[in-house]
Symmetry: C3
């Protein structure tokens, strides 16, 4: 039981752990700016805002990644998760470095989230097909998903 469960989620757990490390990095940045905020309020505000935008999207990201990993297959989901974390890092750094007139918007990583969302939909759809028509396209779909996840690397 134990090994079987972990086998199906260990890549997802690893990505989750990396995202937690990143959260800790963001939080430490906020903590640091919070302590010497008498120097420059605008820097603190920008870091806090970037952190809040990242945290707002975090539960959505976790939910979609885990659903995609459980419903379809974990390797492409974990891969898309890693790419999302890289985009988030760039967003956070970009937000901190920008002068206030051209901060990046509220949303980021839309492509990865959309891909993970699509994986969930395909997984559910495939399950319903299996249940009501008895035709299982899982291996087929998994291959396509694995190949499609490489497209996320396109800039």
């Amino acid at each position: 039981m134990y090994a079987k469960v972990v086998e199906n989620i260990y890549l997802l757990v690893i990505v989750t752990l990396i995202s937690v490390l990143q959260n800790a990095f963001f939080a430490l940045k906020v903590e640091k700016e919070c302590n010497n905020q008498n120097v420059k309020t605008s820097v603190f505000e920008r870091v806090a805002c970037a952190n809040r935008n990242c945290m707002d999207a975090y539960p959505t990201f976790l939910a979609v990644m885990w659903c995609a990993g459980l419903c379809l297959s974990q390797a492409p989901a974990a891969f898309a998760g890693i790419l999302y974390l890289i985009v988030r890092q760039k967003y956070f750094v970009g937000y901190m470095g920008q002068t206030s007139q051209s901060t990046p918007g509220y949303l980021f990583g839309k492509r990865m989230l959309f891909f993970l969302f699509l994986m969930c939909v395909v997984g559910i759809f495939n399950y319903l097909l299996t249940r009501y028509y008895g035709s299982d396209y899982k291996e087929y779909v998994e291959t396509i998903t694995g190949a499609a996840s490489a497209l996320l690397l396109l800039p």
Copy 2:
């Protein structure tokens, strides 16, 4: 293994996907107001505040819904989840449309969350009963829960 797992969670996954779509809708609203915020700051602030209130409660909602679905049965949990999302939509729209003197409060969907919480407690209690006394009331409890979830439709 795979089909068995998905069978027990697919309704929860569907509700989660709908909630993700709703999150994206909220985030797009914020993004839109963020870009033309030089027109009216108060509108942006109200949308951002409504979004933040919704996002604050989101992890709690996900956790309770998934626990209720895993510990007891997924159909009533998913049903209560859908009702919660409808209430959240109304709350967000109401927040945006209100003039500032009468915004709806910080909390919403208390009844649905309470119902899901109760489902979790009953599920855990039933598991402990099964374990220590060997008496399984699961089918009985599931029927009652299914019937009770209809009461959530009362205004």
Copy 3:
């Protein structure tokens, strides 16, 4: 199937339920201050800020606790979760009671989160060892983790 699944997560579910109760307590505090905010704005701001800091860390906490519980063993994970909730309660109350010049920082419960994070890493590492070398140290690791979790009680 059902009893087996619940057996492996029921402690985690109980801690999650307690954390949800605590979230509700925090939210009610904010709601209360929100309604009579014309009296003192600073009190409302402090409560809202404490609540936001707690909510920012909440998804991270849930993710780490569940991963640790699923990958290694649930009893130490649930124990560390309970300790985290106690620290969070203290943080919230401390934040409300402080005058503004000496609020506690942005982060709290770092030790518990670090312990849970370590549990995840050890669990994943043990799984990979089991898979590629066939040597399972799970019972051994579980005993050590159970003993180490008592160290968290040190002030």
